[in-house]
Subunit: 551 residues, 2 copies
């Protein structure tokens, strides 16, 4: 599918607005949204002014007879039908499939009788080339094509994941129209992602976020074609992961027992993500950022002052075998709970002071011949952890400090760059031959007044001096929403639609970089979120959506 270069050449990338809004010299005072433009911008899209009506009683999805199919496709078709025709009931439906579609709220604006003289789009034919994978991976093919002509449209994809991305795009092409109720234009799209890893990190340790809210966030990710949920599940502050092997970890380390993700919660979250082609990459950050782990299990370094333990704790204690025995058991469990090939091992911000203060650690340093170089101790720790996780069959990602501190890791490690100057670090990491992810410029938790998304939009993971081979090692990036000032009250409104601008950077062609051209499309996308029940906040200045939040 990716090799359809000919068709790419044939299709001009046309931004064709079908706007029906009245022209008004005064409306330079607020942002005008596009109508029926997808977000993120497809690699190639051609539309014409030819409109078709779309009506729930006259439209259906059809799986091509020769297509591969599977439960993922069946449920995706069910979801997208509801999303297109019953948007106001959709969120309730996906959070609680027993809930009832609110026909009054979602009643189609036009009857079939109203549309009797109108050309209607009657079906979308879906065709998938290859058998469905059970879970998405870093290597999954997400390409697809859409052709909307006459009364029928076609969606073709190599994989189920491409079909899901294509269905999302298809749902963006359909727009509310005063004359037709819902309409779609004659359109041809060829599309595939520029980067394979388009991630979003949420931190559930500084503040707990309910599974319900995490699911709303996954739905929002899927609406912008993001495909990796980086689940920063535990940290110093709290340990909300309910471990089967070590239930005391959350028993003592969670804020309280209402602030715990049970095994069922996590399974349900992973399934919700899988349905949307989203990988769940969990992070168990160590040896630092682990204070909440150590409340009942003695694995942290005891800090000393004046020759005595001072009742403070440092990073994991690498001088004791018991630490690694614990980690073996812990990561064996994690390997079975989280199906994704990758586990994020953290490794950031390790403070050496407590290690330095502890006599047993000092003795261990001597025994190992590390001298006073505590980065060797860090390397020793990380290599042990990496071996433990490797032995479960998993791959791993780490924060950049591991490389900065010259720790040797396996060749297939993914290194996440989060510090400035990021171009230097990207060059350095890829020169060492590691695959890399960029997150430095996408720390969405650092809020500021105004159109701050323009800075996210301008940041590019290929913005560094390196060879083509080095550029290819950049697998994508992640928007990060750290939780110091974020919880269920504001995580969705603060993340969306700002994260969608990162999503477009990581999906669309490298030359899609003009924030002014993006603004009206982003405004439409925000209104689309609102119509779907997701409270995406205003980011472009004064504006309105036909359907506002919380009416």
């Amino acid at each position: 599918m990716r090799s359809s270069a000919l068709l790419l050449v044939l299709l001009a990338v046309v931004s064709h607005s079908h706007g029906k809004r009245p022209r008004d010299p005064l409306n330079s005072f607020y942002v005008q949204a596009t109508v029926g433009q997808p977000w993120p911008q497809p690699q190639a899209i051609h539309t014409t002014p030819q409109q078709y009506g779309v009506h729930p009683a006259a439209f259906h999805f059809l799986v091509n007879q020769t297509s591969q199919t599977c439960d993922l496709l069946t449920s995706a078709l069910d979801r997208y039908y509801k999303l297109i025709f019953y948007p106001y009931s959709y969120l309730n439906y996906i959070l609680d499939p027993e809930s009832v579609i609110d026909e009054i709220k979602d009643k189609p604006k036009k009857t079939l009788f109203d549309l009797r003289d109108t050309p209607l789009l009657k079906r979308l034919n879906v065709y998938i080339q290859e058998p469905c994978e059970q879970y998405p991976t870093l290597e999954s093919d997400e390409s697809y094509t859409i052709v909307v002509t006459s009364d029928s449209a076609v969606l073709e994809a190599v994989s189920i994941w491409g079909a899901i991305r294509g269905l999302e795009t298809f749902s963006h092409l359909i727009y509310p129209d005063d004359n037709l109720g819902l309409a779609i234009n004659q359109t041809t799209i060829i599309d595939f992602p520029r980067f394979q890893h388009r991630g979003l990190l949420l931190d559930t340790s500084r503040h707990f976020i309910s599974i319900k809210t995490l699911k709303i966030n996954l739905e929002a990710m899927s609406n912008s074609k993001m495909n990796v949920f980086h689940f920063h599940i535990v940290d110093d502050q709290s340990f909300p992961y309910e471990s089967r092997s070590f239930p005391d970890l959350s028993g003592a380390g969670a804020y309280n027992q209402d602030h715990v993700y049970s095994q069922e919660d996590i399974a349900s979250l992973i399934e919700f993500a899988r349905q949307r082609g989203i990988r769940v990459v969990v992070e168990f950050d160590s040896p630092g950022h682990t204070q909440s782990w150590g409340r009942v299990i003695d694995i942290l370094t005891h800090c000393y002052s004046g020759g005595k333990p001072n009742n403070e704790f440092g990073p994991m204690d690498p001088s004791r075998n018991s630490t690694f025995n614990f980690l073996k058991k812990m990561f064996s469990e994690v390997a079975t709970v989280f199906p994704d090939h990758y586990v994020h091992l953290g490794g950031d911000e390790v403070d050496f002071d407590c290690w330095r203060s502890n006599p047993d650690v000092q003795a261990f340093m001597k025994q190992m011949g590390f001298g006073n170089d505590y980065s060797l101790l860090e390397q020793y720790y990380m290599q042990k952890v990496v071996d433990i996780v490797g032995s479960t069959g998993k791959g791993y990602a780490v924060w950049q400090e591991i490389i900065d501190n010259n720790v040797t890791v396996k060749a297939d490690t993914v290194v996440e760059v989060w510090k400035d100057p990021y171009p230097d670090e990207l060059a350095r990491v890829t020169k060492l031959g590691y695959r890399t992810l960029l997150s430095t410029c996408w720390y969405l938790n650092y809020i500021s007044y105004g159109k701050d998304w323009v800075n996210y939009y301008k940041c590019d993971p290929h913005n560094f001096a390196g060879t083509d081979a080095q550029k290819k090692l950049v697998v994508g990036g992640e928007a990060c929403m750290w939780g110091e000032f974020i919880d269920a009250t504001n995580v969705i409104t603060t993340t969306w639609p700002r994260a969608a601008t990162v999503a477009e950077r990581l999906w669309s062609a490298a030359n899609v970089t003009d924030p002014n051209a993006a603004t009206p499309r982003l405004e439409e996308h925000r209104c689309r979120y609102l119509r779907r029940g997701i409270p995406a906040a205003p980011v472009n200045g004064p504006s309105y959506c036909d359907f506002e939040f919380n009416r």
Copy 2:
């Protein structure tokens, strides 16, 4: 009541925490909330460790036989009973009084049998000295005292408004307790506001905000004892006010006809505010900020370039009588729709360029002998408007530019200071003898990362060089949430609890200034908002609430 200086001296201001949370050396990693501490800090509060249980089946409000009473009191007692005992159903109830209390969600944690050996608080006796006013005013008395001893408590107030403030405080004193379900401590409080005008501005022109969301905001204001809703209802971008006299104003000037406040909407909002002792001060800003007014009614100045009208419009056109005839009719209507004594007339950011370009305005300047001094034209306009509004019997507030531009206004005008350096401006305005409001340091729409409320908390309206007489002219201040990047998705989470820190500055004693002391109380107040269904965002760093939002 205010003269109870003796009792004030007798009561030490004691911050006594009844916290039952386990002590934990690791929880320095997150903020600990107080337990049962009111926000804003009362003028004087004394509590003891003596606890009483509070149970819905054993507690009732009682209006003292000799007390004044009225419908406002009856409905306040009904509301606070539900708020105290059915907090999770409360918001639904006040937004839709037909809705049903969700007994399952709100079931008391303890039965009366559980509490058989516990001292219980059985009643709150309410006593009001003076007959109820129908609407709160700038001069209303909000003082009250609360005494909780043995099995009965007493709330005394001069006015209904003081009783409402006292009920709010009483509801803060009651806290969830593992052993008692709900508990209250032996407490004595003497309380009154430091400033009479404790306002919050919302802007419904840059983005529309539904009446439902405006009511949630009023409830949040009442939870922090704020008493003025500054309703910046229209501006350049849109005109959502449905005028009886000029329905075309919203017909053409609203974003669309779903983005309009009907007369019924506004009446219902004003009643909701009145029930909470909140004044609704509406702002119809002119002569600038009026682009949306001029879409169908020809009242704006036509701008010229190259000797011809250029299809752009400027401020209201003061050279035509028709402008003032329109304003007469408009403000007569406004005077009947909004019962508060004050109307805010705006007057900020008037651009003279368009006036300068217009030949009719030029001719009028000549005729009036204004030379080239367009601030004289502004003064002419404002004095006409002020006379128009004055003739309806109303008082008025204006933004500081009116004074900066040396426009003479009536002595009872309230001048709102919004520019830096605010101490100079406060000194200047009060020296001229005008009453003044401060908002410069409380533009909450200017978000930034971290604990930004500390800056709001430090800002004081008496922080300027002036005589005691000048200080007395400062009637209070307003937190402003301008709407460029704010709509129903994020207005509550961005405003709360940040506006509550302004509320404490304006209510509590001048020496309540330590942000570190305030932090745990603010954290409790935030959790109180969540328990009441209002999504107040985290502002103190990592933390948790027993009841999180969106579970």
